[in-house]
Every structure is written in structure tokens, then in C-alpha cells.
Symmetry: C3
Subunit: 428 residues, 3 copies
């Protein structure tokens, strides 16, 4: 349970809010690279951290993320002509480059310097892996580029999707570090999903419904360890890393690709869920990639031409009471991603945490909120750079291991939870 003011602090990310400033310390996904597939392609409207922006890719392959609205009279540059090295407002022809600099105001004299003084808010936009990343903070403190493993492996080893989630980022993120719901909500998926099923670990997952949680600090955030009983004298540990503010990885299952998420605030009542799958040492198989495209695993089937799931709030997520009854879909909703989205959205646009009732199994959530709050306040009051900004903090992995009762999970897995290029992931 949180006080209202703390809930407000953690969930509001617009300009000038403590949590908004915290997010603005980090590189974060702005859109998928596939949304700007070629030079001079149509610009893309985005809202990020409550700011309305336009992403575009100019004639020379440069990416830009700029204020959506023309500096002249405020028309949307989504109607802009992306041509000849810039984006031109079609109302009176004002033109901007990828840095937001106005480079032409046709009504002005040819020798006028007027446009030099016109510059839109702009943020860097950089392709790493399948994602275009931005940094929306002070240019003076721009950190080095992100180094998350899923974005650095060869393209054939990785796949990223995104979907609109119609709720605040925090309740979505909290699902990502909450290993205990898997046993219930996703129990059908463990049996049937092509990207989940068949692992030995799934049995441990299903057989022990009372996981014990241990949470350890990491340089960039936390490692959340969920312990379940395994055979004689051993525990099955699922280790979920969190890198601040909103990167998580699901612990692996057998040789399946490993997956994880970012939850990026659009505004205070909507977020983008980015979902990736990668394998550190081999290409994804054609069947795996096809399953991801079809919305299996952590991905979703989206309405064509959009990133909104087919099963969404407006159609009650295509609730199927018969499959709920049989247990094929534990909650009646199809697919792991939509199972999460449906329940998280059902909490309301911004979950009211003054009414919740947490238990020991929520240890990861409790610890993460504390870290977020502490970091946001330290930044606000002292300008302290928060954990997770340093790219070294990004080089973490999840793990699923079986350990003797006596062993501490993080001591035993210290190497497993670090990125070791070319080395397989620790998985059961």
C-alpha cells in the first residue's frame, strides 16, 4: 500500500515531474526501426512522457525526433512532406532538419537569417538493433548509448514487437518483476505456448505455487529471485533482472529464446509495451520467428497497420469463458501478453495503490518502488545520476537454475546474470 502522494510521484512522467525527469536520464525505445523503414518515408506521430513528437528519417538516412507542431502557427508536422533532407510543413512551407533546426521559411527574403533562430525541441534518435532509441533529457548529460544484449546480437538472433497498453506504465512494469503470477495467469501458456512449453523448469513452476522471494540490489536496479521446490534438497530459482527505470527480462525456459520488456510511458494513462525475444548463441528458427510474428509468447496479435492488440479493452479482450473453464486460458483471455494487459488495464488507468494489500510474494515490487522513489528524489534534490544510466548496467541476463538448498542464488549465479557474449544462458 502506498500513500497517494507516493503513488502520484511514481506514476506521473510528464515534463517537470520527478519521475518524468528520472525517465529523461535514460536512453529508451521511441519506436521500432520498422516504423521508419526507408529514407523520406512518412513521418510517425509519437507521444512519449506526455510530449507530442514526430519521428522521421530524412533523405540521407538520418533519424530525427522533433516537436510535432510547426513553430509558425502550430500545424501538425505529421502532414509534413519528408523530402530533400528535411520535413516541410505543408501549410506555409517551413522546413526542419532532424535536429529540429528550421532550415527554410519561404516567405522570408532569400538572405534572411530568420530561420536560424527557429528551432524545434528535438531529441536524438538512434537505431540499435530493431529499436530506435531516444534520450529526452539535458544534452549536457547525455549518457553513452544503451548496451542491452537483445539489441546487440546479430539480427537473425533477435525479434522485437510493441503494443499499446492502456494504463499507466508502473502497473504494467510491476507485472514484469512479478514471477508469482505465472503459475496462475499463464498456466495455460506454460503448457501450450510454442515459445514457452516443454521446459523442465515449467514443472517446477507449476508444482510449487508458493514461491519464496529474495531480492538483491544490482548496479542498475535489482535481481529478483523466486525460489521454488525442486528435487531432493534443491531449489528451482528464477532470476529476473530489472534495470532502471523499466527494463526487465523474463527468466528462460529450456532452450527457448529469452524474452523481456520495456514499458515506456506515452502519457500517464497509456504506455508502450516493447517485447523482445533473442537467443544469445544461435539464430531464431523460422518457426520461432513465425510464432513471434503471430503473437505467441510475450508478443501480441495487433490490428493491422497499428500497434493496438486485436484483443483489447473495447472488446473485453475476446473473453472466452469456455476456455477459462477448461483452463486452456486460465483467465479466459488468450495469450500471455494479453493476459497481462487485460488484468493490468482492469486496475484502472492509474492503479490506486492506496487500497492494495501486498504480501511477501510482492517483495520485488515493493523493492522496485522504493528504488524508483529514492532515485527520483535524489535526482530532484541532488542531481544524482540514477542507477541504470551507465551502459555497463545494461549487461545483465535472467537465469533459471537449480541449486542446492544451502546456496545463495546470487552468489551461485553471479556469472550467469552477466552478459557473456557467445555464452549460452543459464536455463532449465
Amino acid at each position: 500500500m502506498l500513500r497517494q502522494d507516493i503513488n502520484d510521484l511514481l506514476t506521473r512522467t510528464g515534463p517537470g515531474t520527478p519521475m518524468g525527469e528520472l525517465f529523461r536520464q535514460y536512453w529508451m525505445p521511441a519506436c521500432l526501426a520498422e516504423e521508419l523503414p526507408e529514407d523520406d518515408c512518412p513521418p510517425v506521430r509519437l507521444k512519449l512522457l506526455s510530449e507530442r513528437l514526430i519521428a522521421f528519417r530524412d533523405s540521407h538516412g538520418r533519424y530525427g525526433l522533433i516537436d510535432e507542431f510547426c513553430a509558425h502557427r502550430g500545424a501538425s508536422l505529421w502532414f509534413g512532406r519528408n523530402e530533400e533532407g528535411g520535413l516541410r510543413c505543408p501549410y506555409h512551407g517551413w522546413k526542419y532538419d532532424v535536429t529540429g533546426q528550421c532550415v527554410e521559411v519561404p516567405s522570408e527574403a532569400d538572405n534572411s537569417s530568420f530561420c536560424q533562430n527557429v528551432k524545434l525541441t528535438a531529441y536524438p534518435l538512434v537505431k540499435i538493433g530493431d529499436v530506435l532509441w531516444t534520450y529526452m533529457g539535458d544534452p549536457a548529460t547525455q549518457p553513452p548509448l544503451p548496451e542491452f544484449e537483445f539489441a546487440l546480437v546479430p539480427p537473425e538472433q533477435t525479434y522485437t514487437s510493441k503494443r499499446l497498453q492502456q494504463c499507466n506504465w508502473l502497473q504494467a512494469f510491476e507485472g514484469g518483476i512479478d514471477s508469482s503470477h505465472v503459475t496462475f495467469l499463464h498456466s495455460g501458456g506454460l503448457q501450450n505456448d510454442p515459445l514457452f512449453k516443454g521446459a523442465k523448469g515449467n514443472e517446477y513452476n507449476q508444482n510449487d505455487k508458493k514461491p519464496f522471494f529474495e531480492v538483491a540490489d544490482s548496479d542498475g536496479g535489482l535481481f529478483v529471485g523466486a525460489r521454488r521446490n525442486a528435487e531432493d534438497g534443491r531449489y528451482y530459482w528464477r532470476i529476473t533482472p530489472w534495470v532502471m527505470p523499466c527494463f526487465t527480462m523474463v527468466p528462460p525456459r529450456g532452450d527457448h529464446p529469452i524474452h523481456g520488456h520495456f514499458w515506456i510511458p506515452i502519457d500517464d494513462e497509456n504506455c508502450w509495451a516493447y517485447s523482445f525475444d533473442y537467443h544469445p548463441v544461435r539464430a531464431l528458427t523460422a518457426a520461432e520467428r513465425q510464432a513471434m510474428i503471430e503473437g505467441h509468447g510475450v508478443h501480441s496479435e495487433n490490428i493491422p497497420g497499428t500497434y493496438r492488440p486485436v484483443a483489447n479493452r473495447d472488446n473485453d479482450y475476446l473473453m472466452d469463458r469456455e476456455k477459462q473453464r477448461t483452463g486452456e486460458y486460465y483467465s479466459g483471455v488468450k495469450g500471455i501478453a494479453i493476459q497481462d494487459a487485460s488484468l493490468q488495464e482492469s486496475m484502472g488507468p492509474i492503479a490506486d495503490r492506496t487500497k492494495e494489500r501486498l504480501v511477501p510474494a510482492d517483495a520485488g515490487i515493493i523493492k522496485a518502488r522504493q528504488k524508483l522513489r529514492k532515485a527520483a528524489i535524489a535526482l530532484r534534490d541532488h542531481g544524482t545520476t540514477p542507477p541504470g544510466v551507465d551502459p555497463a548496467h545494461h549487461r545483465v541476463r535472467s537465469a533459471a537454475v537449480v541449486l542446492p538448498h544451502a546456496e545463495a542464488f546470487l552468489d551461485a549465479c553471479r556469472e550467469d546474470v552477466r552478459v557473456r557474449p557467445g555464452m549460452p544462458i543459464a536455463s532449465v
Copy 2:
């Protein structure tokens, strides 16, 4: 015309409001029994008096009406699994019984008493007739169960439907005690509707467009008498009983079944209109029942799978100007229920009574508002139990009679307006 503060008092029914507290003194319809047709069937989302609730029927046939949201982290129990004697949240498996008591938290130790301290707000839910009734007030003052005749006669003699009305409850209710609009708005229905037409009384109803109103107190509310001229030295009286806060009965016509309504606040801008038809001494005929199912009489044709009328605000109630012109539908809208709904909704989500201009024909409305206000204030200030709580107050009937000029309607009809099991209704 009302002062703004009185209009606010009468129309606001959320928790803690005087009118909300008044409603919470009564048993009232929560949903139709058909919405929970069998044990372990899907739970139903309801909003009542601005509270979001879940109704369900457990494995043992017990009905429950509980807070919509899981006590743990606030996921909606609409996604719940209704099984093994309770409703289980599919997120982390917390389980509740029909009293709202948490009976299982899987992550807790088997011998934990944690869940004993977790209890959701819950209200009783009881089947009487075709309706499931609830009482949302203090358990210490829970009154005996309701005794409305329509709900107590054998099933073959009664039929109840419901429909969403998109306005405040009060303006909907006011239509129910307003006998004078029938002559205009429903004049087509008097001629054509299979559940209305053919009665001798209809002629009186149509021929005298200046009814005179007399309003008399009853134990539970009011009797509103509307007097119209009949043959030599006689009056045609239509007597509408109101039992507080929102039960009314339409005066009968010939041997047609008798009908009435409840208007139950969903929130301050929406209500459920419950419409019943019954005959005190005989089974409804197959033709009558079929007409009700098809939306004739006081019932409506609803969008399949919902309780929203096919003709609604979003489609201008399927306005038919040609049939308006011919008079088949006096207002251009088809059906008695939708004629009422369309005009009442057109007054706005909450009618602005500071601008109205009442006339003597509105005597019933004026008196009813006074009683509601007085009762709400007496309850708030002195804890006075309001009229209509005592089930004895429920045992009233409407009547339509022809009386000599000299006779006072209530003196003459004292017996007619009481429920007398096995005795027919007084009707012309």
C-alpha cells in the same frame, strides 16, 4: 422549479450522499435472475449507486455481490474463475466466497491466517421472483425481504425485463408517476400496442386531455390519482402507487397484465429501468409473454447480449418522422419504453430543474420530490427509517376505476390499492 442544491441532493446517490444513504436503506433490484442462470456461471459486472461490483453464483447456488476489485492489487474480478465455491482472481489466485471473505491466498503458507483478515465489501443478493435483490446499507439495519406482488406471484404470471437508461434516475422515475403524458406521448401505443390496446379506459384517457390530479400519502410513499371525465356524473380515475424510493405501478387497462417499474441508479448519469408485467390471478398468455419478449408494452427490444435498447441515444432512437406525422408514433419514436427514455434522456444526463416550469398536472412529481427530500434529510439528521422500507408498504396495487363525482378516490379504492392475493385488480 428546484434550487440547485435541492436538485443535487435528489440526484446524487454515491456513497456518503444523503440520497445515496436513503437508497441504501432499501432492498432493490441488483440484476435479473437470468443474468446468473446457473451455478459457477460467469460473474457479472454491475455498477450500483456509483459502486463497482461483481455479482456471482457459486458452485452451491449461493449468490454474492462483492467489490469488483481484488484486495491484493486491484485486478478486476470480472476475469475471475468461478469455481469450487468461490471466485478466484486469475492474477495470483486469491479466492473469495459470496460474503466477500477471502478464503485462499496461494502464496501464503498453508497454515497462514492471513486470508482471514482479508474481506471485500459485499452485499446480500437474494432471488425473489425474476429479480436478484440487494441491500447495500448497514447490515445492522437490514430490513426484511421485499414483498412486491409482481415478484411473489407464480412464475407463469409474471415477467420482468431491464434496460439501460442514460440519464439520472430521478427524471426517469418522474415519468413513472406522471399520468398526464400518456395522452400525448403514448397516444399511438394506446391504439396499437398489444399490451395496452382495447381497454375501455383508453377512451377516457384519450378524450380528456386535462386530467385533474389528487395526491395522497401512503405508508410507503404516495397514491397519485389522475381524474378524467367519464360518462354522466362520473370520473375515470387512474391511481398510480409509488413506494419509496423508486417503485411505481402503471394503472391497469382492461384485463391486460399490470405493469410497473423500478429505476435504480447506476451512477449519477445512468440508471437501470426495471420493467415488470404480471397478472395477479392468471398466467400470462403465450401471446402476452411473446409481446413482452419482443419489447412491446413497457419493455424494450435490446441489443442481443446486452440490456441496451436497440433504439438509443447514439442512433437518435431510430426517429421516424413519417410515423410521427401520421401519429402512429406520436413523437416519431417507436415503443412506449423508448418514447419515455428518449425524452427523459434528452433532458441531459442530470435534468436541470432550476429551469423547469411545473403546472398543477405535475402534482405527483412535486409531492414525490418533497417526500424524498424530507426522508433523506430525516435519515441524515436523525437516522429516521424512511417510508417504503417496511415490506408491508410494498403490498400496493395500481387501479383504474370509474367513480361518481362525489366520491373521493382513495376512500372508494382503499381495498383496490392493497394487494389481495387471488383477487383481480380493479381495472376498466
Copy 3:
């Protein structure tokens, strides 16, 4: 750039606002005559200056514009029966004539004078040309009827349409006195539109993208002159008259009909764009009229049975990126009217003028805002009748002329910009 308080002053037109009072000094279009095509036809719901009204045409051909809601209990008179010389509320039969006077309350005694004291707010509604005009101000200061030339020429010489625009009136109006955007946004239309193409002037329009603006006061508002280079020692002048508060005319092209607009506030976030085309000395050809009906020129293709454009905010104005690329539609949006609407709506429901950055080419807009502000304040503080109320101010024309460099546009065109019945327009 405007201060927030000035932006508020110019954009808010509800009852009691300074700009709302300004609008209430003028006759202005309430609806098209085609919306009330015959006696006793269905009444029409209108919102004007944030007031909800009903327009109707009674059994005797009289037009009325009255409060939407019945004085009795507030039901919408849109459901009214338009019959026997008045509009009758179908709820209890109260009846009103075109002056808003209640002429019958059926429940009252035959000799009652009650209804004489019941009168709805009402405004005059007068047909001139294809438009029904109203005046929503104090009857004591009602000015003579409007004398705009498009409404006074014979019917075969004129055509008027309207469309819903989903933004504040001011940003829509500002497009109408902004000659500089034509070169960009409408460059495709100059080439292809049957009601625009082929004029010699179009070449000047396209070849000089740096028009120089001169703005001159007129009795009723402004003449905005846009000067572009023509051949040796000559300028091409396009002269746009504005009559306060919201009448503008587009400068002509060759022998095409001449067009113009009114922008009438519905509420603060929506307006009606009225678009007319007329020829002062000849009938419109069948081809011209057909093109207008189909939505060419300044007109739009609307959703059948409505005045909402087919291409609108909800479908991204049917953006066509391929035609944007080829330049057939410069902004990717089809049609001159929708090109304007799309960009103006993209500025938001009420453009935030505290952030804009005006240039010399915006001289007309700057001057017009100053005049509006001054007039609204003079009216509020001193009761000063604003420019444009006097019908003599309405008798203006736009013009497109080629003049020697030395000549001042208004000196040279003094006669051209006045209505001279039977004389052609000055056009290149």
C-alpha cells in the same frame, strides 16, 4: 504570439463573453435554407455560440429559431411535432410558435392565461439567398438584414454549402485571410481543381512564393492585399476582403465563380464553415454546379445526411502519402477545403497562440486579431457598435489584378472591391 488572456478573449464566444457579445451584434448564417425545405418539415438541432437551439419552419412558411428545450420540464423539442402553426413538445403537448411564445398548454383550463407567460428564448430566422440568417443579440439593436452579394444575386448564379470543422472558429477564419499558404498547401488544386485551374493568375501565384502583404482598413473590416511579381514592372495583387466578424472572400481566378466563407462558432471547439461560390454577372454552368456539389473548389464531400466531411479527423483525412509524394495533393490530403480543415484542426481544438511565431506574411492575421480585440473591448466597455454591422459594409468584393509597381493597390482598386451589380469582378 498572443498572451493567453487575449487568446481566450478572441476564441470564447459563449453567452456573456466579450467575443460572444461581439458575434451577437451581427446577422450570421444559422443554417442552410435546404435544411428546412418545406412547411412543417422536421425541426433541426443547432448549436450556435454555445447555445442549443431548434430551427423550424411552421405550417405557414415562417421560420423560427428557439431554445432547444421545452419550458415545462426540459425535454428536447427536436422530438417535437411541427404542425398547425407551431412546434409541439410530444411529452405533454406544450406548443410554441416561431417567436418562442407558448401558445398551448393542454393540461391547463381552456380559459387559462398561463401559457401567455411562457416564452422560450428565440431569435429571428430569415432566408436570404440559400442561407437562413439569425441575429442573436438584443432585439433593441437588431441591425438591417445582411446584403452580401452572394446571397442577393439570382439563385442560378450562386451556390452555398457548409461543413463541420472540429476546431475553434478563429484558427479556421485565419486561414481565410492568409493568402500565402495557397502557394504551398493548395498548389495541387491550382493545377487540377475544375473551379480553380486555368487562370493566368495561378501562374503568378505559383511563381512567387514570397508574397508581400499590405493591409488596409475598410469600413467593415480589412482589405488584405498580397503582392506577387508579374511581368516587367508590374505586380499581381490578390485582394481579400474581410467583413467583421467572420466573412471573407477569396480573390478570383479568371472567369471562375468567386468564393468565400463564413466561420460560425458552434461552441469553442467546433465551427461551421459556410462556403459559397457565385458569379455576379452570369449563371453558374451545369458543370460548375456539379463540381461544387461533388466537393470541388472550396466545397467538401460530406457524409450523406450530415454536414460532416467524409475525410475527417477520425480517418486522418484519408491521408494519401503517394499523392503527397507526387505533389498531386501537396499535404497528402485531397481537396482544398479538407486541406485547410486538416491543418487547422491539427492545431488542436483551440490553437495555443502563446507559442506561435508570426512573420510579415501573417500581416492580415495580426491586423484582424487587433481589430477583433479592439471591437470586442469597445463593445464591452462602451457599447460601441462594431464595424460590419451596417449592411453597407457587406457590399465588398475580392479582386485579382495586375498593377504597375508604383500603384497603391487600394487606390487602384477602390471600385473593384465594391459591389457593383451587373458589373463583372476584377479578375486575372
